[in-house]
């Protein structure tokens, strides 16, 4: 199958959700940053920070940081395929840790929403670092669509 890129379906919505995802308190705590998006795909990164370390002796980032990064990037990949704003909720997330992240370098995560069903969205994600072809982790997740009446994004701020 060829991967011919298309822009995200609704750029205004995607940009709004991407910014919002990086500003929410827990994302700000780990320093999540938006990198790029296209139809079906999203990429985020976490800069290296000693507060996010799991093992001080090795300096390797904690798996929990990877969980946040992969969960958020996967959710954003779903929004790259949506035309209208809706709330989605993670049903399940599975992560395989392939190697420890090299200390001192940012970790990228790119996620693909490979099936957008009427009720369920399916995603797969890879966490990696620049200059190393061996990924840090693989993640697969499913999301419930229209999970609640609560809105996602900045529109409802202050409402």
């Amino acid at each position: 199958m060829q991967n011919l890129p298309l822009p995200v379906l609704n750029p205004a919505l995607f940009e709004d959700v991407a910014n919002w995802f990086c500003q929410i308190p827990h994302s700000a705590t780990i320093g999540l940053e938006f990198v790029m998006g296209e139809r079906g795909h999203a990429t985020l990164r976490v800069p290296y920070n000693t507060a996010l370390v799991g093992n001080p002796r090795s300096g390797v980032l904690h798996g929990g940081v990877m969980t946040s990064l992969i969960d958020t990037t996967s959710a954003l990949s779903v929004f790259s395929m949506l035309n209208e704003r809706e709330a989605i909720a993670t049903l399940d997330l599975r992560i395989d840790y392939l190697r420890g992240a090299t200390p001192g370098q940012p970790v990228y995560c790119t996620a693909e929403c490979y099936r957008l069903g009427r009720q369920i969205a399916f995603t797969r994600a890879t966490a990696y670092q620049e200059g190393n072809d061996q990924p840090i982790a693989h993640g697969v997740a499913t999301f419930m669509r229209e999970s609640s009446q609560a809105q996602l994004g900045s529109k409802k701020e202050g409402a």
């Binding site: 827990h26 799991g54 001080p56 904690h62 929990g64 997330l93 840790y97 809105q151």
Partner: protein
């Protein structure tokens, strides 16, 4: 890496803050560990920096997952009395309810401990342990 003297002192006193202090990410989340009925019980006191959805407000799924993974790692360190913190091989997390703006608790169960690999189940809940917010299972490399 956890110093064994610190682990023994913590078990003696029932105060595990010194263990948490050795894991930066556990400290950042604000994980609290104590013993209840001879087994570790973990608490994630509510904190603004663990919020995912500010409108609800709800805990961030990543914070819930990170808390549970920390709980499993700490449970293994506690049970094995080992200085080495195990390495996560895989982690599978099911979200069942949204996490409200209040304390989240977790308990772990070592389903199987082999020579090299341990299988651990985790349950996280808020008001009612029979209504979990999330359940997870993971494999850890011990050696």
């Amino acid at each position: 890496m956890v110093q064994l003297e610190i682990l023994h002192a913590a078990k003696e006193s029932g105060n595990y803050d010194s263990i948490i202090d050795q894991i930066p990410y556990a400290k950042l989340l604000g994980v609290v560990m104590r013993e209840e009925n001879g087994q570790p019980l973990f608490e994630l006191p509510f904190s603004d920096h663990n919020i995912g959805n500010v409108h609800l407000p709800a805990l961030h799924g990543g914070a819930i997952g990170g808390f549970m993974e920390n709980a499993a790692l700490l449970h293994l360190v506690w049970a094995r009395e080992s200085a080495e913190v195990p390495r996560t091989i895989d982690f599978s997390l099911d979200f069942l309810r949204s996490g409200k703006a209040q304390s989240l608790y977790a308990r772990c169960d070592i389903t199987k401990q082999g020579k090299r690999v341990a299988n651990v189940r985790m349950t996280a809940w808020q008001e009612d342990e029979s209504k979990p917010v999330a359940v997870a299972r993971a494999h850890f490399l011990l050696s």
